[in-house]
């Protein structure tokens, strides 16, 4: 997993990650949440990837959205969740979690600024 993460970080150089991110805070958050939503790796990879993206200049908003959506939204697992817990439940829960990832990212960063 760490091998794959470091391979991904090497293949997608800093310029690409900064080209993707850095447009506007809200767009960065949407992008981070979207990437996290479709990611299917171990959450440990999200922390490592998030840390490296942050070190590479990506905003904490986007990184937080990525980390949160990685573990709360499961587009890849959606068919399994729908089959076992109900289609209605699965779709609404994942939509809600996507929106929550955005909310949590803004709230976390604002709170950190408030507490210094």
């Amino acid at each position: 997993m760490l091998l794959l993460t470091s391979l991904a970080i090497t293949i997608f150089p800093e310029q690409i990650s900064l080209g993707l991110f850095g447009q506007h805070d809200f767009i960065d958050v949407l992008l981070g949440a979207s990437i996290g939503s479709v990611a299917a790796g171990h959450p440990l990879a999200s922390y490592v990837l998030g840390g490296e993206l942050l070190a590479g200049g990506v905003s904490l908003y986007a990184v937080t959205a990525l980390i949160v959506s990685w573990v709360t939204v499961g587009v890849v697992q959606l068919p399994a969740e729908a089959l076992l817990l109900g289609r209605h439940f699965a779709i609404y829960r994942n939509l809600m979690c996507f929106l929550f990832a955005i909310a949590v990212s803004f709230l976390t960063v604002y709170t950190l600024r408030l507490i210094g």
Binding site: L60, T64, V71, L84, L85
Partner: protein, 153 residues
């Protein structure tokens, strides 16, 4: 295998990635060691039967707290928990508590040392608190949408 394929296409890129891996490993190894110890300890303490006892329809505040704690302590892939949660719902587990448990899984207790390592203690504490808070909100909303004890279709 992926590294092998990458080496065939671009050997220098593969070497750089490997070098990056060793640097990454050096940075995260201390935190990872703590992570593995915590995972082992949690797997010894938590089993689905124990969770089932405290998540029934009349569980009240205790049920909410149990769902949050169970989610935080749960390990393994989420799809393994779908089957357990389906079983529990059919036996009377509240819809809200299913959503709470699934959301509070976002708090990965064994991985917190790694989160602290990369983002700091303040960030970790604030994020964990918001995740727990939003797990409760997710439960309340899902119960409004689905009803107290909706059986999966």
């Amino acid at each position: 295998m992926i590294y092998g394929l990458t080496a065939v296409v671009d050997s220098e890129l593969a070497l750089r990635a490997l070098a990056g891996f060793t640097q990454l490993l050096d940075k995260v190894l201390p935190a990872l060691a703590l992570v593995f110890v915590l995972i082992f300890a949690i797997n010894l303490l938590l089993d689905p039967q124990r969770v089932r006892k405290y998540l029934g329809k009349q569980s009240g505040i205790k049920g909410w707290l149990t769902a949050i704690v169970a989610g935080i302590l749960s390990t393994g892939p989420v799809y393994a928990w779908y089957a357990v949660l389906r079983d529990l719902r059919q036996k009377g587990m509240r819809t809200s508590l299913v959503a709470v448990l699934l959301y509070s899984r976002a708090v990965k207790l064994p991985l917190l040392p790694l989160l602290v390592h990369y983002f700091g203690l303040n960030y970790t504490l604030v994020l964990v608190l918001y995740l727990i808070g939003f797990s409760v909100i997710s439960g309340l909303i899902m119960e409004k949408i689905e009803g107290v004890r909706a059986v999966p279709d």
